[in-house]
């Protein structure tokens, strides 16, 4: 599913969006409407977010502090949607800008937002942990 469909389904407001226009040498940082979202995670615990293993995941969370953005960056999450209409702190937006992570908010609850995306074909993030090297 394209990010634009996610945004429509959850009726999101854009807080910070980086379309990677000024970052042509690194397409990984491209974001915006055409970003393909295959799976998502909903979590309010940072250690849970770190346990997700796939790249380019969407994070839905009720937390708005800068550490949410920092945590997302550790596991290459490119899109964060804050639930229940929460507004992040200015420091959170500033860090997202620095790390090229898109921020949106939705008035829906975490449960409803996750449910809507699941119903429309977004899969759960695989919880199989990165295999330890032998």
């Amino acid at each position: 599913m394209k990010l634009k469909t996610v945004k429509k389904l959850l009726n999101t407001e854009t807080i910070f969006e980086d379309c990677g226009i000024n970052d042509n040498h690194n397409l990984d940082s491209a974001c915006g409407d055409d970003l393909e979202i295959n799976n998502a995670c909903g979590a309010d615990l940072m250690s849970d977010v770190l346990a997700f293993s796939n790249q380019k995941t969407l994070l839905l969370t009720g937390l708005t502090n800068p550490q949410v953005v920092r945590t997302a960056d550790m596991v290459e999450i490119k899109v964060i949607i804050f639930v229940r209409g929460k507004e992040p702190q200015i420091e959170t937006i500033s860090l997202a800008n620095q790390l090229n992570i898109c921020l949106y908010s939705t008035d829906k609850s975490l449960f409803e937002a996750c449910g809507l995306l699941y119903k429309n074909g977004i899969g759960p993030e695989e919880m199989n942990y990165i295999e330890a090297s032998k």
């Binding site: 250690s47 969370t61 502090n65 945590t71 290459e76 942990y129 090297s133």
Partner: protein, 142 residues
């Protein structure tokens, strides 16, 4: 094998604004060195959990990363107060974090558990009043 230091950064106690910066820096350094995405990700998780432990629980400390051809060594040393019961600290779900910390999304009791999961070797030395010293090895070849 000779190891080269690629990162050394002080970590301030309770600094939630820049907490995690050292881990971000190390992640970028490893990427530039051409380390595989999987190893970079493992290292990022290990370093970030340990860095946030210092921010949350300690009086301040430092993080050092060294690299050789075969492995990455991460050392995280803090100035105390030390861990009372190491066995408990490695138990999933056990945490001594305050409610304030939990409200920020930390203190799930999975920090050292996550570190152990991704580290190829881990050595933790800690006693009350003397601080905590963690050494983690991550093999660069799988």
């Amino acid at each position: 094998m000779r190891k080269q230091q690629i990162l050394n950064k002080e970590i301030e106690s309770f600094d939630f604004q820049s907490g995690g910066e050292a881990s971000s820096n190390l992640k970028n350094i490893l990427r530039k060195l051409g380390v595989s995405a999987q190893i970079v990700r493992k290292t990022a998780i290990v370093t970030y959990e340990l860095e946030m432990n210092v921010v949350i629980h300690s009086l301040g400390g430092e993080i050092t990363a060294l690299i050789s051809e075969d492995e990455l060594e991460i050392r995280v040393d803090d100035d105390g107060p030390g861990i009372a019961d190491l066995d408990k600290a490695f138990t999933a779900g056990y945490s001594t974090a305050s409610d304030e910390i939990r409200e920020m999304g930390f203190g799930a009791g999975m920090g050292l558990v996550n570190v152990k999961r991704y580290a190829d070797q881990i050595d933790v030395k800690s006693s009350l009043g003397e601080g905590t010293h963690v050494k983690v090895i991550i093999k660069l070849s799988s």
